[in-house]
């Protein structure tokens, strides 16, 4: 017992400083991309060729854009661009309220807006979510699990994942929604009491990701349960736990600041020493 207590004391406080303090990311972390079409030489489509999911559109024109809903954040497009027209920043805030806002052009962070006052009153201090893995590779699932560990600890904001849709205020869906999971997803949605939120996490749940176009998937939540609005899109492959947390807390109005706090390289969540 003494050994256990001593080990516990040595571990110290492990919860990350974010959102009150800075979020730490490795130097090479790829967050929100920035596009500068002016630097793009006409006729070159190297970024498009390098992209696995056709996330880059209209290269070589002023309308050049990158769809974060499709983007796997592999960085191959930036690597392929010799002119630096496409670069990735370390801005981890990627979640949006609409699918359209995921399409990035230029250099502007589109931050997820909070729910309306009524919904915020309902969920702002206690949000219970049921997760449905519908063809996810276990990457997004692993990062969603991480949001609950002692480092990210989203439960300190009242955000928790629960075992039953009947206990939930909303669904978090990962994966491109396979045909074989379609019924289970629909039933889980129907079993969740209204008002309910639907949150799509990861490129697969938003657009199908690398599996888009497969005859046995539905290219994400919107295609799988048509008519059901998605309240929050959290892009990434998989999104970092802080990106997930940032999206959820902005949705609840718990994080509103627009200034970006990313400390120099460091391990996310390491005990301050």
């Amino acid at each position: 017992m003494i050994e256990i207590l001593k080990a516990r004391l040595r571990l110290g406080r492990q919860t990350v400083a974010w959102p009150d303090g800075p979020a730490r990311f490795p130097e090479r972390f790829r967050g929100r991309p920035v596009l500068d079409p002016a630097r793009c030489t006409a006729g070159c489509a190297a970024c498009l060729e390098a992209c696995a999911t056709a996330a880059v559109t209209a290269p070589g024109t002023p309308e050049m854009a990158l769809d974060l809903g499709r983007c796997l954040f592999c960085g191959a497009c930036a690597e392929a661009c010799s002119e630096g027209a496409l670069t990735f920043t370390r801005d981890f805030r990627l979640a949006t309220r609409t699918r359209e806002e995921l399409v990035v052009a230029g250099d502007e962070a589109k931050l997820a807006r909070a729910l309306d006052a009524r919904m915020r009153a309902l969920f702002g201090r206690s949000l219970r979510l049921r997760q449905v893995s519908a063809g996810g590779c276990n990457g997004c699932e692993a990062e969603l699990n991480a949001t609950g560990n002692i480092q990210f600890d989203l439960s300190r904001f009242g955000v928790q994942f629960v075992a039953s849709p009947r206990h939930a205020d909303g669904l978090v869906v990962t994966g491109p929604v396979t045909e074989n999971m379609l019924t289970a997803l629909r039933k889980t949605y129907e079993a969740t009491p209204a008002p309910k939120l639907v949150i799509a996490v990861g490129a697969c749940a938003i657009s199908g990701g690398p599996f888009a176009g497969s005859p046995v998937v539905n290219d994400g939540v919107a295609g799988a349960i048509p008519g059901v609005p998605v309240d929050l899109f959290i892009p990434g492959c998989p999104p970092h736990p802080i990106t997930i947390g940032d999206g959820l807390l902005r949705l609840l109005g718990r994080v509103t600041h627009e200034d970006l706090r990313v400390a120099t390289t460091g391990v996310v969540g390491a005990a301050e020493s």
Partner: protein, 505 residues
């Protein structure tokens, strides 16, 4: 391994040189190889003339580090070998599902992942279209009698995990039989890989099983390199090996935390749960992504590490590893944790070999089997990691083997980070030649990953076969539960920690 086309892990051969023999000789070849201690690493079909199926087997001789290839052509049915060699049961079910080849006499023929056939054939399971869209909707094996009850779990589970359906036949708390139905995650991954551009194929490979991005990504890259006839330069090979071991470290540390959580031992559950991140973050220091996405590329790796960064990363990992050692020691020293794990979910050595288990699950039952030693690739041809084995085949042994592997992988990562050779990290990949076949095996953290890549007559990926270690090991979990209590299921499940996505593909 006579009569087979001999090859090695990471080598390519001319596809047409694979011996094509009648079905009986093909099956004799399989039986002889297995009886002599060999294993079937992969077995897959391809569409052949007149709606017949060209079946190719990859046989592994672990002692001689050799692989053997053999093919045959079958029609709508062939005699099943699964009764004699249960390790073949899933391969035969897969072939029945994808190509309608009925294995006559199969002891338990049922769909594997509820995917549609790859060519217009009569349904091997006698179903009529349209198939029910719920994989679990089929007659499960049932135990009947007074006081017998059935427990159904899934596909949507209580925690944040992938979907599968588990059907327990119970007498009180005792599990008489567990049947596992998978397929919910079936995304058509193999078929998407076929004909895909290289950038997309690489991303698909990294997403076959997300917690094994490096394992599957590396198997894919090495398959492409084998086809193209190039090799990653030494520095790139070092960084790949480091990334593969970091993936093992992150998952094994996380699993020990999860096992501790399931026996209610909070100190290790919290400690290892957080320490897992140290290894994920180290991978992110390498390539920007905690799962290693975007690090690998056919020909090597995409990013280099400066000498200063490598030294800093090594120091940080040495520190993290010391804390893992401390946290894990608490678990193994705790009598209450030992009491819950000792003798729980036993898989005997005989059962392990019959089912063809791989990875830590097999090593925990005493089967010394590890691709890194038996079919060494890349860095492992020069650095030999001792293979960790257990004896008892229970939850404790599966946890203990993970701990031994953590210990050895940590040493490996530190040594190689501190001794990176000079030079480039990446070689150019020439166009793939047509008509070649390459077998690429990697010891992922769950065990043997095998990829078989074939190019068509234009040098594109024609057939791409993926085998995740979970393909073999799910049956091991089902068998481990026999005679156990229902309440031990989560613990047994964590000790295997198998991939649904990697199985369902």
């Amino acid at each position: 391994m006579s009569g087979l086309l001999e090859t090695w892990n990471g080598e390519a051969v001319e596809a047409r040189e694979v011996p094509l023999v009648p079905v009986d000789r093909f099956q004799d070849g399989l039986c002889q190889a297995i009886a002599a201690g060999g294993r079937v690493s992969a077995l897959f079909g391809r569409r052949h003339e007149e709606n017949r199926v060209l079946v190719t087997a990859v046989l592994a001789d672990d002692r001689e580090s050799r692989l053997g290839l053999l093919s045959t052509v079958v029609g709508a049915r062939w005699p099943s070998l699964s009764d004699e060699f249960p390790a073949l049961q899933a391969f035969e079910r897969e072939l029945a599902e994808q190509y309608g080849v009925v294995p006559e006499g199969h002891p338990w023929l049922k769909p594997l992942r509820f995917e549609h056939a790859r060519m217009p054939v009569r349904d091997a399971f006698g179903r009529s279209e349209p198939f029910p869209d719920i994989p679990g909707d089929y007659p499960f094996f049932r135990v009947e009698g007074e006081e017998i009850h059935e427990v159904a779990v899934g596909p949507v589970h209580a925690g944040i995990i992938e979907p599968g359906h588990f059907r327990f036949q119970c007498h009180g708390e005792q599990v008489l039989h567990l049947e596992i139905s998978l397929g919910y995650q079936h995304r058509g991954a193999e078929r998407l890989l076929e004909g895909a551009s290289l950038p997309r194929a690489l991303r698909l490979a990294e997403s076959l099983a997300g917690d094994t991005s490096i394992g599957h990504g590396l198997a894919f890259c090495r398959a492409m390199e084998a086809l193209a006839g190039v090799e990653a330069p030494p520095r790139g090979s070092y960084l790949r090996g480091i990334a593969l071991e970091l993936e093992r470290l992150a998952n094994h540390v996380g699993d020990l935390g999860a096992i501790a959580g399931d026996v209610g031992f909070q100190p290790t559950a919290a400690g290892c749960g957080a320490l897992r991140a140290e290894f994920l973050n180290a991978t992110a220091e390498l390539c920007g992504n905690r799962f290693g996405r975007g690090l690998l590329v056919p020909g090597g790796v995409r990013v280099d590490l400066s000498a200063g960064d490598a030294a800093r990363l090594a120091d940080k990992l040495a520190n993290a590893f010391a804390r893992v050692r401390e946290s894990v020691a608490l678990l193994f020293r705790s009598p209450s944790a030992r009491n819950r794990t000792d003798g729980t979910g036993v898989v005997s050595r005989e059962l392990c070999d019959a089912l063809g288990l791989v990875g830590p699950a097999a090593r925990a039952s005493g089967a010394s089997r590890d691709v890194r030693r038996d079919h060494p690739f890349g860095l492992y041809r020069f650095t030999h990691l001792p293979v960790a084995t257990g004896e008892s085949g229970d939850v404790f042994a599966r946890a203990w083997v993970r701990w031994l592997e953590i210990d050895r992988s940590a040493g490996f990562v530190l040594d190689h980070l501190r001794g990176l050779p000079e030079g480039p990290v990446r070689a150019a990949l020439p166009a793939l030649p047509p008509g070649r076949l390459a077998v690429s095996m990697v010891e992922g953290w769950r065990g043997e990953i095998a990829h078989v890549a074939l190019t068509d007559d234009q040098g594109r990926l024609g057939r791409y076969k993926v085998k995740d270690p979970s393909f073999h090991n799910w049956m091991g979990l089902a068998q481990a539960l026999r005679g156990e209590q229902v309440s031990d299921f989560p613990l047994c499940n964590k000790s295997f920690n198998l991939s649904y996505a990697g199985h369902d593909l």
